[in-house]
Subunit: 109 residues, 2 copies
């Protein structure tokens, strides 16, 4: 990640688009989010991550992966499963996950 | 769009992931962004949009489209082309565009 941008290779690769609205207060969320970013980066097939959350509480995190196998393996990592459970129980008012295959990409200016 | 979330149908559909870092100052950006959201929503094949920008200036906007044809048609709309040119010239320090096919999706909690 450079300056917040994921340094992804040429497509195709996978993108997991995670859109979420946080509940009020931190409640351990910040520490967990940092730990998950570090842990994700150590997984096989990890290509990068981009994340933004506005003052209104809506956030979008996109993680990039080599293939379906690496997406599913990351979802099943024990520590990540615990974070997912805590997210459902207390951190997220609502979330949407979309798994997508990146077909083309370009940058600018 | 409800509460910031796009109300997308069952996959498959396309996602255009636009990650950007803004230059300092507004310089007409806010008005253009609002106009583009309204204009996009009127295009054939538009399914929704989600957007977040953090205090650090990094933003992610994901727009959802029925098919490749609607993605390309939106990119070619004259007023949108003018906004793209202004974005390259002054609003964005850097941006990345990734066009992806959403294969599966789920929400929670």
């Amino acid at each position: 990640m450079t300056n917040g941008f994921a340094n992804t290779p040429e497509p195709p690769y996978l993108a997991v688009i995670f859109t979420s609205r946080r509940t009020p207060g931190d409640e351990g969320y910040g520490a967990m989010a940092a730990e998950m970013e570090t842990l994700a980066a150590a997984q096989p097939g990890y290509l990068g991550i981009e994340s933004a959350r506005g003052a209104d509480g809506l956030g979008i995190t996109v993680s990039y992966w080599r293939d379906e196998e690496s997406v599913r393996a990351w979802k099943a990592v024990a520590r990540h499963r615990a974070a997912q459970a805590a997210g459902r129980a207390q951190w997220y008012e609502h979330f949407e996950v979309r798994v997508a295959r990146v077909e083309r990409a370009y940058g600018g200016p």
